[in-house]
Subunit: 161 residues, 2 copies
Amino acid sequence: MRIITNNSANGLGAETLRRRGFRLTGPRRLILEMVQGTDRHPTADWVHRQVRRRLSRVSLGTVYRNLRLLVEEGMIKELPGIAGPQAGAARFDGNTTIHHHFTCSECGGIRDLSEAVDRSLDRRMAARTGLRISHHRIEFYGRCPACQARQGRRRRSRKRR
Amino acid sequence: MRIITNNSANGLGAETLRRRGFRLTGPRRLILEMVQGTDRHPTADWVHRQVRRRLSRVSLGTVYRNLRLLVEEGMIKELPGIAGPQAGAARFDGNTTIHHHFTCSECGGIRDLSEAVDRSLDRRMAARTGLRISHHRIEFYGRCPACQARQGRRRRSRKRR
DNA sequence: CTATTGTTAGTAATGATTCTCATTACGAAC
DNA sequence: GTTCGTAATGAGAATCATTACTAACAATAG
Ligand SMILES: [Mn+2]
Ligand SMILES: [Mn+2]
Ligand SMILES: [Zn+2]
Ligand SMILES: [Zn+2]
């Protein structure tokens, strides 16, 4: 067979790739694994650094190219810009289920919130406005525990993303 | 007096400027007016084009500088990245009240939603997660009436922002 | 008047992302 | 296994949005 044998965990992944005739190449598999294997909603740059630890020759262009491809295939998602420090860089999410986020307005860290999504909100809003709504996402903001710990001082300390 | 005489409508504006010792200069006033005078959540580039119709020599740098300043002063807000086409450019909002948005996933247009904001959601979420939440914003997605009109065909037609 | 501070236009510099192109890896068919 | 068409990649140029820097000017304080 010409595609992957393992990776059966994320069934959709391999299946989608096969259907579209894509190969799960070395770089591509690593990129997918990195995004799926973390909950930090990484930037392309972070993924690149991680991938290079295993395949040192992978280029940043390949990382972008494949991230976009994987998003298109629905295997990962892209998080529309986040407020706060470190804005301006795309972030990716291996968790493709619908869920909301908490963003620390100080360090820019993003956490998944497991609370259920209220589909009825879409219906109600649609009814009131006449708009056709496909979905919604809620972004919560505040300071994360870590940032609350190191009180006031040392604010503005941008942390690597 | 050394500041503005009119512009009393958006009281906070003039007041804030005076307090901080800022002047409401020509370029600055126009930039503020442009953002406050539209509901299209414009990009810096759009504001620049508008301002130039009145003061043709205003530079893009000045627009950015003042947009950031006005955001810092709380006179306008910046919308953290929006999904869909035309992502990647900051958007500004003259409506400083807390409100939610509807974004057309096809043309990228953004509409204000006047529905009330549920502050209790913050409290409930905070209680459940232990996070300290300052606020939240909800982004609804779908296709706007206009995009629904010109059906299927002519999709992917990026429109100027 | 003179020093200080606020503002600006113009332009160079950045950071993130996309594009281009020559090269390589694969898989299917001889 | 050699050949051939296509997918995928690395390297670097190009593009876009944004910021930084600079020199000149204007308003204000003393
Ligand atoms: Mn997530
Ligand atoms: Mn708005
Ligand atoms: Zn934090
Ligand atoms: Zn639309």
